[in-house]
Every structure is written in C-alpha cells, then in structure tokens.
Assembly symmetry: C2
Homo-oligomer: 446 residues x 2
C-alpha cells in the first residue's frame, strides 16, 4: 500500500509531541481531582435527536452508517447515531440517565475528543480534545459553585506551561438587567448584536442595535459604553452604576460577577478580567459567562469558555442546573507544538539504554534492566550488539540520557556530559529530572 498522507483536520502527534499532551492532561487531571472532581468518560456517539437540537451546530455532526448495511433498500441506512460535537451534550444525557445513581451536587471532569465536520483551519479541527469541568445540582445549585468552578479552572490553567492566558468574565444577568433597565425592546436580540463587537466596527453594531433590537441611538450608545468596560478587578461595579441604569437583575449580576472576579487567584500565568462585552452567543447561559484567550494566539479566538446554565438537563420532571468551563486541549496545544513553543524532552520513556556486548550476554543486560525497572527506572536493552559507539548514537538519536555498560564492574555514562562512572544496578538512579520525558518550553520570539 502506498505512503499515506495526513488527513486535514485530524491532527496527530509524534511520540515526543504526545509527551506534551499527556503531561498537560495529567496536570489538568491532578488539579481537578484535588478539588474533588470525579472523572467520567462517555461513549462517543449520541442518538441524533439528542445532538440535533437547536442552532446551526447540527450541520457539522458526523453520522454513523454501517458500511454493509447500505445494501438494504431502506434508504441511507444510518445507525441513528452521531458523534458528539462537545462534552456538554453527552454529560447532560449521562446525568439524566444515571441521576438515581449520582450524588448531587455532582462535580465531574471529562477529557475526551469531540468531532465536527467543519472546514479545518488553525485551531479548528475535525477531531479535537477538550477538558471540561462541570458542577451540576438537582433542582438547585447555589451560586458559590460558579465561583468554585471558575477558580478551579484558573488554578488548573496556571499550572500549564503555555503562554499567559486571559480568563474573561461576565454575567448574563448583568447584561440583561442593564438592557432591561435601559428600556431596550428586545433584550435577546441586543445580546446577539453586541456579541458581534469583535467582528464589526462599533458604529455598525450601534446601528444594528437600533434596527434589530429596537433601541434608540442613545440606548445603543449606552450598550456600547457597557461593552467597553474591561478591568482586572471589581471596579466595574461602580463604573456600571455610574451609567445610571437601575434594575434588580443588574444588581444581582454585578454582585455575582464581582464575587467570581474576587474569588479567582489571578497570576502572571492567568490574568482574570471582567469584560462586559463577553456574551457567548448560545442561548442557554443564564448567569456567569467565561471566555479564555491565549497571549500571542488571539487569532485562535477563545481557547475555552463556559458558564452557568439553569437547565443543563431536564427530563420533564426534574431540572438539573449546572456551571462549567471547557478548555480546548487540542486548540491550545496543536498550534503551540507546531510552532515549537512546546516539545517533549525525548520521544521514548527510557532513561537508560543498557548496552549489549554480544547476543549471548543478552540475559545479563536484561538483568540489569530488570533491576533498574524494579526501582521505577524506565529503560531498554540495545536491540543488537553493535560497537559501543553505535549503541551510544542509538541512545542519542532517541534522547536517552544514560547508557549502561554491564560487565564484572558495571559503569554508566551520561552521554550529554560524557561522564562515565561505576554503578550498581540495585542502587544507581538518574537525577529526578531525567527519570521521565518532560515538557520543554521555548519562549516565543513574536
């Protein structure tokens, strides 16, 4: 069979690049678990009727068909199943299906691929891995979980070796209350229009507010004033009050947003801002909204987001409110890896190559390897008894830092420094930093 070529939109990683992804996933998981989030995975398919609800998104669903089933005369022979395009829809279904067996509030994290049949471009893939955390309640979910879930994601992101991130926060109650207090006719339409501020110039947005949302030019101007507020602290509360709009929902929104901003530990690695133009187009958010951006990679648009939904799931009798944030693992890492900003220190787990004198002494080399492994040191035995110089170059090409020479008196060589010392297979260990492959970061020069 001929040499295959990559499939557009389906990025794959070489072994050293995969080190980066695995370490990032391990780091995220560690933080999520420290905060009591349980891991789940859902099957990759959902019944179409569950996926195809609402919005334009259903254009991009991959549907499964059995290859041979097409021979029947029943038409398209679909299985009725589609691949999930995010982790929220399957999670909501999982909660409904297992509600009787879960304890609420239920904290879960889920790190899995999702699929969309859309046109691939940088940061947009047909298969991409997401890391989601959500907290879901039965009937009710106190507001303090909004603070918690954003704080946990901020803490998790701060531990990643990626360029500085910006977590931008807003609250739908704040926007809706402000528009309502201002007297705008169609609040929902106004939110949709304001959401275009990153694509259209301000005057066009103002004009659309008048045309589409029934605002007066003065009201439109006030909407833009609100949308321009962007601060790293809770000073927005006074600024918004200074705009002279009063409304109960606005007050609730201000208090909630202030609590989330206050509750998040900002750092050099993760900036936290109130950005009052963030709306997130999807209709189901009802309070806190979040978007995450990466410094130097603004062209990717958001690399994560989420918020509060008062009805994450609903089975007709019980409503399950939730709050969650999703981080785009592929969307973040694939460009960083492609740009050489992140790489793995070596493509193999082995810290040691045990050299081989001749085929007859393979059992002796295997014994050394077994002794090292018994103490948690990953290693491999040279595949063939070439000259030692060749065996050293074999290790070098894989980034294996140490070569072990077995014999009556064992010796181990650090092939970077060339230093070679006597060593005991039952005692010697590499420096901690050499034990496993790690992420190497290169500062960007842009």
């Amino acid at each position: 069979m001929s040499k295959p070529t990559p499939l557009s939109g389906f990025p794959e990683l070489l072994p050293a690049q995969r080190v980066v992804e695995r370490e990032v996933i391990a780091s995220l998981s560690r933080t999520f678990e420290l905060h009591g989030f349980a891991n789940i995975e859902t099957r990759v398919v959902e019944p179409l009727e569950r996926l195809a609800k609402g919005g334009e998104i259903d254009k991009e669903i991959y549907v499964l068909r059995r290859l041979q089933a097409g021979e029947s005369q029943d038409g398209p022979s679909d299985s009725g199943l589609g691949m999930h395009f995010d982790l929220t829809v399957p999670f909501a279904r999982y909660v409904l299906e297992n509600a009787g067996k879960l304890e609420f509030p239920f904290r879960r994290f889920q790190i899995q691929p999702a699929w969309r049949g859309e046109r691939p471009q940088e940061g947009r893939y047909r298969q991409f891995t997401q890391a989601d955390i959500d907290i879901v309640g039965r009937d009710e979910l106190p507001f303090h979980h909004d603070v918690e879930v954003v704080r946990v994601m901020v803490e998790a992101l701060a531990a990643l070796p990626v360029p500085p991130l910006s977590v931008q926060l807003n609250n739908r109650k704040l926007i809706q209350g402000f528009y309502r207090g201002l007297g705008i006719a169609d609040v929902t339409a106004a939110i949709r229009v304001i959401d275009k501020l990153d694509k259209l110039p301000a005057e066009q947005v103002a004009a659309q507010l008048v045309e589409v949302a029934g605002a007066t030019p003065e009201q439109a101007e006030r909407c833009l004033e609100l949308a321009r507020i962007r601060v790293p602290d809770t000073s927005f509360v006074e600024t918004v009050r200074g705009l002279g709009v009063t409304d109960d929902l606005l007050e609730t929104g201000l208090a909630e947003l202030a609590a989330v901003v206050d509750g998040c530990p900002a750092s050099d690695r993760v900036r936290v801002e109130a950005n009052l133009r963030i709306a997130r187009g999807l209709d189901y958010y009802t309070g806190t909204v979040v978007e995450i951006f990466m410094s130097g990679y603004e062209r990717l648009k958001s690399v994560g987001g989420g918020g509060r939904y008062d009805a994450l799931a609903d089975d007709g009798r019980t409503t399950y409110p939730g709050v969650g944030v999703s981080f785009g693992v592929s969307r973040t890492l694939v460009p960083l890896i492609a740009d050489g900003v992140l790489s793995g220190s070596r493509p193999v787990p082995s810290a040691v190559l045990v050299a081989l004198v001749d085929e007859e002494s393979r059992p002796g080399s295997e014994q050394v390897a077994a002794a090292l492994r018994a103490r948690g040191i990953p290693c491999e035995v040279a595949p063939s008894p070439q000259k030692f110089g060749k065996q050293i170059r074999f290790a070098e090409r894989r980034g294996i830092p140490f070569v072990w020479f077995p014999g009556e008196s064992h010796e181990v060589k650090d092939i970077r420094s060339g230093e070679q010392v006597p060593a005991d297979p039952d005692q010697w260990a590499p420096p901690h930093g050499d034990l496993r492959p790690t992420i190497v970061t290169k500062e960007q020069t842009s």
Copy 2:
C-alpha cells in the same frame, strides 16, 4: 427531554466504576513505559480503502457521513472515512506516514477505543477500549523482540487485580512446518480447519481436514495429536519430535516457541502455556501467536491476543515487520465490573470533606481545603451549612473517609471509626491508602 436509556453495545461507567478502568490503564501504562514503550494516539478515523482490506471485517465498519451533506445529489454523501475497528490498522498507517521521523525498532503502546458495528453481546461491544503494545522494525526485526513483547504484556497483566489470566502461545512456523513435513496438500486450509477445534468436535475437524485440506485420515489424526499438546513449559519440544515429523520450518518454530515460553515469568496471576492448537485465523501472522484467556470468564473467549507479522506495514519500497499483543480492556473490565468483582473504593477523589459552619465562614473552610490541597490531599468543602450530622452523612454517601471541622481548634473525624482528633491543616494527612480512590476486589464465588 425524556429520560434517556443506555445504548446497547456502548457501555458506560459510573464514577466509582471509572476508577477501576483508570487505575488499570495507569498500571498498564506504567509497565509499558518501564520497558521503553512510547505512547501514541491515532485519530479515530481512517480512509475506507485502508480499513476495508481483506476478510469479513469490513461488514462491521462504521462509516462517517456529514448530517447536512446528504442534501447534495452526489449520492450517499459519505466522508470516505470509517472508524477504526482495532489499533493495528491505524498504527501501521502511522508508521508508514511518519517513518522518516521515527527511530526503529519503534516500541509503542496505544490505549484507545475502537468501534465495530456488530451485534452486541457480553464481552463484545460496539465501542471498546484496547491496550496494544507493538515493536516494529524497518526491513528486519530480530526474533528476540517476540520474547520481549510477550514478556512485557505478561508482566503488565500480572500487575492487574483481575482473575488469573492464561497466556497461551504457539508459533505459525511450528504448525506450518509440521503440516508441510507431514505432507498435507493445503497447509493454509488445514490451519483454518484446526482453528475450529473450540467450536466443533474433533471427529468433524478430522473429517474437514480430509475434505478441505486434502489430508489422509492418518495425517488428520496427527494434526489432532499436535493440537492436543498443551503444557506450561518447553516439554512440548520433545513431545512434538516424538510425533516423527521432520521439517526445517518446524524446527525453527519449536525453537522460537520454546524461547518465548522460557522468557516469560509465569506466576499465580498469569499462567503461561504452550498450546499447539492456537492458530489465530487471520492470515498475516507469520511466527509467534498469542491468545489470552481469563479464569472463570472462558465464555468471553480470548480477552487478548497477537503475534508476529513479517509485514505489519509496507509502502511498496520498505517493509516493516512487527510483533505485538493487544489486551481487551473493556472486554475484561466491563463484565468484571458488572459482576461486582471489581469496584472503586469511592466515586469521588476527595479524601476529606471540609465541613461548613455557616455561609459567612465559607472562606475559612476554603482556606483549610487550600492548605490540604497544597500538600496533595484531594478535598471538597460542604455545599451548604447543614447540621454536622447531615454533612457527615453527605460524606458517607460518597465514601469520603474524613470530615474536617474548622474552628479555632481544628478537628478531623474518621467517619468509619468515629474517631475525632485535633488536627493542623498544614500538617495532617490521611493514611496513604485513603488518599486516592482504589480498586476493591471481591473474590468470585463461582
């Protein structure tokens, strides 16, 4: 939306059950990495022409179609992509695609789901997770890697808390050489017939050897004699020689099988046997063949298998021989979890629930939690300031072993023993065994 029901063939795990799967995957990964196997993941789809080669397997492939694309007049609107049905096909493609960037021999492990559209039954799912290890060479791959790959899988399986496993080994050269030396007309047909020994009575198999493979009744009887040999050591070499067939290929097969059996550390947890009826129907195996069975779960048939293929991949100019073993993670764990043989010790990572006196003191409880987390102790703060008795029952329902009572003098209670002692948030730690959820095994009573 109404309450969803499970999809047949797509098993999902509750959070405590997922603990089992994650720990098993972590344990397998640990062993594989100690032996220098690098982790990769491949995209879940392959071009159909790469999946649909050979055999009956193509009946079971799921093909992807874009939901809205069906509106065009170009017929079935398939994407030309199908979901992989194992991890070998995508691995072979990955090797060809990236050959210039890989170092050979290339050791990799891959733990991912695969999909088959077949009728679901116990141990056979439409989505199932596999754990594969393979070693692949360019142009050549010395035989000692056969010993290595089987030994690594045996070691990895021995570390799992599952019922005893049986690794059954054979060698295609041994069978082919024996049949050839015996003078059987159609060796390949004979192998296919002998492979039916677990479904048909011996006399029917003998009759088919005569009819289909052109054997005489005497030759058929010798084939059955060979197939009856099953020993936990290398004594099969003498037994086979006692059957009086001589052939070069047979001798090579005997020596190779003896080396693999000798090289595997048998234990109470993993029995290793030479079983000369194991053939593995698929045509591409050319030497070592392996099948894995689980004690008490023989009805699942094999829970893993693999072998040597002299042409794992081939791009027309270069051939990549390989040897590998695949372990069925879902096939093994889903029935064990369903039977209650394996379960997770608790459904949440939290080792501690920090109690809450009232909403005003939430920051104080959060501070205690932060101090514990800083030392790697997973915990959560009670969601609401109920009576302490209720908060303790909240912990109990989740299997959280400790409840922390903040105050001027902090105390922590082991809710299993009822013991409550003063504790310092910057010092106290739970016993190591309580830190994380673990796998609980129940001896089977069958």
